[in-house]
């Protein structure tokens, strides 16, 4: 008997029971689609978050003030630490701006112009220029501030002044400050892919920030280390100096931890989805046994006509294989389609929580996680997982048809022919 013919007979047998076969294929499809759809979400979210952390450069360590005011002395101490290439002092104030009748939350960063590239990467200006490092409050502003959701034309142009309100300086004296800054340049869209969310931020010269906010200390220090391997030493030194008074973030390390977490989450979700394949396996097993029993006479006849036990065995196993292959392929298509539909559904589900009212400015301490919590990510379809799920689908279908196939193969032809 030719292999081709075994496939042909298997296919014809499945085709006879179209609904039954379709249900079995569907059960495999659901399992495979679930594996792909779920893992592609975690992988996508993970890659998105990791890219945010990595956008600052792998050699970065960020120091955030908790209860200690970091002064110029601290900056020079930090700069002189082993492994540190440079320490960039930054002043940060949470603020609100009013443009027309809309109020908008923003963060004002005071940072030297020549260090801007260290936190923004490429400085992509769509209009205007970078500010000079003077006490004059010239600013470059994020694209969301300039465009205010209008797509084509910016509402604010270079040379224009905008009003900024803050709750005053870090600490207890919550006096409100309102100040006027003049737009020098407008940044292009950066998307969420940055720890610092440039799109909703305002950058002004460090001196200007010191004057306006009346601050002689810094809220954060971005440290660039000599190389990635120095990160540990630098972090250690910082801890021994400041203890819990500062919050130290190493994007690279976070990215690594995240990567591990995401891999584990993927495995967990994929595993849970894979369990549905066990249900599919039971379905196939049960249905195959029923089918084999129903086909007892047919099997007896085939044996009388000269089909060997191994032919019967192969035919039933290949019936299982075909279910697995079809189920797997349809599952992959469905899984990929679902993968791309899910982010939209998730975003809709969380839309309320991301659209925080403009007036609430409770977020006083810098938290990179909440600042980048806007959920927009591309699902990532891992070809390895697609392959594994296909293999699993086929394996599960073949394994669950082994016993029914064996039952069919070892049937006594005489008894099978007598079977009513």
């Amino acid at each position: 008997m030719r292999l081709y013919d075994i496939f042909l007979l298997a296919f014809r047998a499945l085709w006879t029971h179209k609904i039954r076969t379709a249900l079995l294929i569907l059960s495999v499809t659901v399992g495979v689609a679930a594996i792909i759809a779920l893992t592609s979400q975690t992988e996508g979210i993970g890659r998105n978050i990791i890219s945010i952390f990595k956008s600052l450069g792998p050699d970065t360590v960020i120091v955030n003030v908790m209860s200690k005011r970091l002064t110029d002395l601290d900056i020079s101490i930090i700069a002189s630490l082993d492994g540190v290439r440079k320490a960039i002092p930054i002043i940060r104030e949470v603020a609100a701006i009013t443009l027309g009748d809309t109020q908008l939350n923003t963060v004002v960063y005071g940072i030297a112009s020549y260090e801007l590239n260290e936190i923004l990467g490429d400085i992509k200006l769509i209009d205007g220029t970078i500010y000079q490092d003077t006490a004059v409050p010239l600013a470059i502003i994020g694209s969301q501030i300039a465009f205010q959701n209008t797509t084509s034309q910016p509402i604010v142009l270079p040379g224009q002044a905008i009003m900024v309100y803050t709750r005053g300086s870090f600490g207890a004296q919550a006096q409100s400050i309102s100040l006027v800054i003049v737009v020098a340049g407008i940044l292009d869209r950066y998307g969420a892919a940055n720890l610092i969310s440039p799109d909703t931020s305002i950058f002004i010269p460090l001196q200007a920030a010191q004057q306006i906010f009346n601050k002689m200390w810094y809220d954060m220090v971005v440290i660039k280390t000599n190389n990635v391997s120095s990160i540990d030493i630098v972090e250690e030194s910082l801890r021994s100096i400041y203890g819990g008074a500062v919050n130290i973030i190493s994007p690279t390390q976070i990215a690594q931890t995240m990567q591990n977490m995401i891999t584990q989450t993927s495995l967990l979700l994929g595993g849970i989805a894979a369990i549905s394949l066990i249900a599919a396996a039971l379905g196939i097993f049960n249905m195959m046994l029923v089918t084999v029993t129903e086909r007892t006479r047919e099997i007896g006849t085939m044996k009388a006509l000269g089909f060997k036990n191994k032919h019967i065995l192969a035919q039933i196993i290949i019936e299982g294989l075909l279910i697995g292959v079809f189920g797997g392929i349809v599952g992959i298509v469905l899984g990929i389609a679902t993968s791309y539909m899910l982010p939209g559904l998730i975003a809709r589900g969380t839309a309320i929580s991301t659209a925080t009212p403009a007036r609430s400015q409770q977020v006083r301490t810098f938290n990179p996680m909440t600042l980048t919590a806007s959920i927009s990510y591309e699902p990532y379809i891992n070809p390895v997982i697609v392959f594994i799920s296909l293999v699993l689908a086929i394996l599960v279908s073949v394994i669950s048809s082994l016993y029914p196939a064996w039952r069919a193969a070892k049937m006594d032809p005489v008894k099978a022919l007598r079977y009513e």
Partner: protein, 229 residues
């Protein structure tokens, strides 16, 4: 071609275990089926006709004794070898036709050739050629259940002939047919005999034994009489 009888049974016993009781369906049957003869097997229900036919056709193994197919003792052959023997040398026809209803008529006829590994085009040609001897062309691509009983049994005969076997074993092939069709089938067997095939047919129908060369009477698992005509 080998000399002597095509099938020879020597002291063949078939004992079934019913619960713990041994029930002998065949009790020491010794007989020969001559090459090219038309042999009828008759006997009461339960006398062991089907059992005898299955043992002759290498479908069942005797509990004791030996079956020779062209002097080859079948007990020495593996079940795969027996399958090959059935496939090439023996054709089965059953009372209930046993056509595969999810395949077309022509595909049913192709089945023994599929088992043998004959390529699709060649086997289709041959299947149509055999079918056209017994049936009109219109039935070729129908499903078996769309055919009358007589037509179905002729398809089954065409299928039995697919690999040009030497022996046709038919177990009450007319049992489900009316008198007209019963005679039609018996005539076909007679013609096949004339073309050189060996036919063994189990039947209850005394009229049909007229077509046979010899009639073997079975009672309680034993051959009680062989009538030569």
């Amino acid at each position: 071609m080998a000399e002597g009888p095509i099938v020879k049974l020597s002291d063949v016993w078939k004992v079934y275990l019913v619960g713990k009781v041994e029930y002998p369906a065949l009790k020491g049957v010794s007989m020969e089926v001559e090459r090219g003869e038309f042999l009828c097997i008759t006997g009461a229900s339960g006398s062991g006709k089907s059992t005898l036919l299955n043992v002759m056709g290498a479908l069942d193994r005797p509990t004791k004794g030996e079956v020779f197919f062209e002097n080859i003792p079948l007990s020495r052959l593996s079940s795969d070898k027996l399958a090959e023997l059935r496939n090439r040398r023996i054709g089965f026809v059953f009372q209930t036709f046993n056509l595969l209803n999810h395949l077309t008529v022509v595909e049913n006829v192709e089945l023994p050739m599929i088992a043998l590994g004959i390529p699709p085009k060649k086997r289709r040609e041959r299947a149509i050629e055999i079918l056209s001897k017994f049936l009109s062309h219109t039935v070729i691509y129908k499903r078996p259940l769309e055919l009358s009983g007589g037509e179905q049994q002729r398809v089954a005969i065409a299928r039995a002939l697919a690999n040009d076997p030497d022996v046709i074993l038919a177990d009450e092939p007319t049992g489900n047919l009316d008198s007209y069709n019963a005679h039609l089938i018996a005539k076909i067997f007679k013609e096949l005999r004339d073309e050189g095939k060996t036919i063994v047919m189990v039947t209850h129908n005394i009229e049909l034994t007229d077509y046979a060369d010899r009639i073997a009477k079975l009672r309680d698992g034993q051959i009680v009489e062989i009538i030569k005509r």
